[in-house]
Symmetry: D2
Subunit: 338 residues, 4 copies
């Protein structure tokens, strides 16, 4: 017990933060010592997040106490400045939010409408996407976890673009459960308005789009990406349905084989033989990928749990690699059915 690493969760009462706090409860190498909240400081976390089983009182934000690792789940713009302090104090930072996802300051300003608060940290930030940046994560002390949609889309598209298997034109039609909109109250996630409804949103452009583009461009590709998110009346889950064209000489079979090879060593990614559904991965850190085609059009599907592989689970996975712990440490959740 004594050798466990102390970890703080800043912003512990939102869905990403509370999921991270819950995961830490059963993590064999980490110990949740601090959880903070702007709104609920002084209350027990279990009283604010129903079902949370740990005995911890919410601290004042943003004090990580004696934690050597800080997992942050704050709105964009709030984390970057704090990260400067925490890094200066020698703490590792895992950001589940958006402040270090985009490496280019101008792109950050374009999508978030403010100057980046800590541009000097951008270079040291590693994207917490182990299937792509696994080699860079060991020893990393500033980890930026990609967005939930980004994770699904990148896992679906990265091998194709990295390996030159597909053309540049790609449509990502994605859909998320309502927990993806967070715990902040809004008519758009009010039960009576959201149940029995399906809708597209951010049709003109969503902030996760430049994350996907950045990763694909980093792989040497020049994608022309169209990405439209939709809201599904369910709590958890993301499915990305990606439409693209096979590169000359590639068939759906050769591409599927390449995906199987690419993800052969991935602890949490399976290339499966039938279209995955979000429920198959609910509550787990897994991603299911399916590669198929329709009349010659290449279609790649990816399903994840937006709060696990799309947020807190992936953050823990990246932290595991950064700390030299086994990648699956504390993440061995099996799917429940139904």
């Amino acid at each position: 017990m004594n050798s466990k690493t102390n970890v703080a969760v800043i912003g512990a009462t939102g869905y990403a933060g509370s999921t991270a706090a819950t995961l830490l409860l059963s993590h064999p190498e980490a110990r949740l010592t601090v959880a903070t909240s702007r709104s609920y400081a002084g209350q027990r976390l279990g009283d604010v997040v129903p079902g949370f089983d740990g005995d911890i009182v919410l601290g004042a934000e943003p004090d990580p106490g004696d934690a050597g690792v800080v997992i942050v789940a704050l709105p964009h713009g709030m984390t970057a400045g704090l990260a400067k302090t925490w890094r200066r104090e020698g703490r590792s930072v895992v950001d589940l939010g958006a402040d270090f996802r985009l490496q280019d300051q101008a792109t950050y300003k374009l999508w978030y409408g403010l100057d980046h608060p800590a541009p000097e940290l951008l270079e040291s930030a590693v994207l917490g996407l182990p299937e792509v940046y696994g080699a860079d994560l060991p020893g990393a002390n500033l980890i930026a976890c990609p967005g939930c949609y980004s994770t699904a889309a990148i896992l679906a598209l990265y091998p194709a673009f990295k390996l030159g298997l597909a053309g540049d034109e790609v449509v990502v039609d994605a859909a998320s459960g309502v927990s993806g909109a967070g715990r902040s109250l809004a008519l758009g996630s009010h039960f009576a308005e959201t149940a029995e409804d399906y809708r597209a949103y951010a049709v003109g452009g969503h902030r996760h789009k430049p994350e996907v583009t950045q990763v694909l461009v980093g792989a040497g590709a020049r994608p022309r990406l169209t990405f439209v998110p939709h809201l599904v009346p369910m709590v958890r889950g993301i499915l990305a349905t990606c439409y693209l064209d096979a590169a000359p000489g590639q068939s759906v079979d050769s591409i599927r084989d390449a995906y199987r090879d690419f993800y052969a060593g991935a602890a949490f990614v399976d290339v499966v033989g039938t279209p995955p559904s979000t429920k198959m991965v609910s509550g787990t850190n897994r991603a299911l990928i399916h590669v198929t085609e329709q009349d010659g059009k290449l279609i790649i599907l990816a399903a994840i749990d937006n709060l696990m592989k799309g947020a807190a689970g992936q953050g823990i996975q990246a932290l595991n690699l950064a700390m030299g712990w086994p990648e699956t440490c504390g993440l061995a959740f099996v799917p429940r059915w139904p």
Copy 2:
């Protein structure tokens, strides 16, 4: 009362059939005189379809009795042969099923796996899509209502292809409530397996695809269509999200204007300024269309209620035109919110 037209609904206990039966109850020109069922003959329709408010006992299938108009909601392959008899008897037929949707016998065989049972009727069948074939409907006595997905996709795409506003390449990513899978029992529409889940299906090809292609080709276009349906954990509604490229010289504004002009006289179609959600049209015969773009990619959205504008409502609308009744007759349902 005496001047009302007698109408039979064959297959009245499935969702399309029972919706048609319900609509007829309050139709000012039509009178539901016969409703039949393979499984429930002899029972009151209201005992089989909860909430059905009429006083009618289910007859043995497929006897339309004294009805001059037969609305059919049977599985494919069952209607065509019956329609021959009914037409010979001088009855008008409105098929909510698939038997007369595809004008080409080979295409029918390809998608439905059987020889068309009544090819001699194909020529006289009019597609019950008033916004496209409104001119052909007056006097029509064999009306084939298009599928629910087809209706949404065609309403979204037809003006673009008819008027040459877009390129040939088009992705239709569509999602439907579970009632679209019908009332037949299956694990895929079992509550515990379907709730809290979102999935793609028929990714390799869905039977509604050739219907869309047929209509667009009929408009003089040569679309390369990719269509993937998804299942949403809600009862009703379809949203089609269509991705295409504007033709040279066209802008999203010019295309939106063209859509507004095209649908200016359409009783049930509105081109709206924000992305529609399925709930906005639930229980109504309306279609909401939205024309927008993302980084130059043209995106057109269409929302309908799959059982109304996507099935029974559209059938009544087409019948109204065929009979010379006002188009909106018996279909003036306003949306409820929430």
Copy 3:
């Protein structure tokens, strides 16, 4: 058209108010001339309430303009003072809220925590529950519609207590869809917290309880009522499951017969032979009542749509009677299935 009565809806963007506004659009005797909103004045109602089909701009609250009838859907405490003014101006008032439901000032203060703002009006207020107070409604100009739970419970219990068919001890276990919590944002009606959950609330006492007691006491009974509401992950609907004991000499059959007699003339109440489900009445102004027993315990079930028979629909029904219009005027909605 000219002979229609002008009606204002005050608080038109909440669920009760917007439902009333929607109902007025197709009411043959009334015309919606004013709709007001604290938060959205100046906007089109259709832009605030998706799907609302009328062309009306929200006015500043609480000005009813030229309307002779004011339908009010405001939080408790806000209506009573306004009603004094409106009554003085000669307008009729239909309150969908709580200010005039309890005839006793002390009871009002006990449950709502404030002195009644207009006690002088209490005597003239008629409870807008036509099945009980139908004789008092013609000519009424201050109508207080009972709460949604109250309506279901009273319809289930009133005949038993009025006719002396049951003992005093009664448990009402009721469950409501989430729209019953209104459109105000709260974690308790946030989709991700509410979906896949079922819970009891207000277990110690709910404000609708004294309404039920008041009506039963008014019938000469001395009920010992226990009432626990529950929240169901659905949008609309209330089911009240009531447990009581038959009075000596009464059987479930005699009680059922008495209910059938009692409601024989009720336009919107049916005593049905099987347990009703909320979906059977969704979108309608109907109440379905079922009288049965289990090992000698009398069980009476009532199902309504909380926004229709439980709020706006009942308000219109009561207004119809007050104005001398047909009771079902503008309320002839049939159930949809599924």
Copy 4:
């Protein structure tokens, strides 16, 4: 690994059976060696139960192979005869079904409509409800797990009746997610008919009622129990809302204290200070109990996951005790939120 006990799951593709199979995958003392299915023999369990992560091919029913422990999830009437054989072969049997729940043959015949197939085994059967029969479980080799509703109701009521804290009259109003109806296809669990609906069923009497009565009578009480189950549009969860009267001299506080004492040593039961919701226990083996009152009426609430504490989880818990393993072995699941 070698020292693990081999366990078979008979009827592994239904919800109780597949949940048991999933739990065994991560159980430190047990190994799933056989899983059988009437309908799917020869297929991989993971292909029939989405998300099931083990590598096991479904065997022909009902052969438990080399398993020393047989967990059975078959319809009533099918297990008892098989259990005779298995017991003769020296295997332990954990029945998640109904065949050994009722100790009285006449009661069994009354509720299940058939003569008990193995009355000679009834005496040796121990009810798999550790909080009540924990002392009888060590060494037990025929364990009958109570029904899901029964478990919730007994946990809510047992201390009150065992300790003489309450009067005889008790109403149990309970509600379950749709997975409680099992994986067999039926209109009553068809998504489109069940979503957006809430209903009571089995109002005249449900088979779980005599189980509750039997346990309370076994505690020396003479309850007059009324039990009405309801169906909630969610996948998992049961809430029992119990209405009773405190015994003379008892207050809600004294009763709550007695419950806290009674469950002080229970690994999976918590007496909590606020009304529990089903989501708080979803995916866990926990029960949350709340003791409160309304105007003197005692109200006790219990929430469980119907497939875990209400079925497979409780079966494993009982098996753990029977085998001398730690009670919580393989059951340490924490709640997820949301």
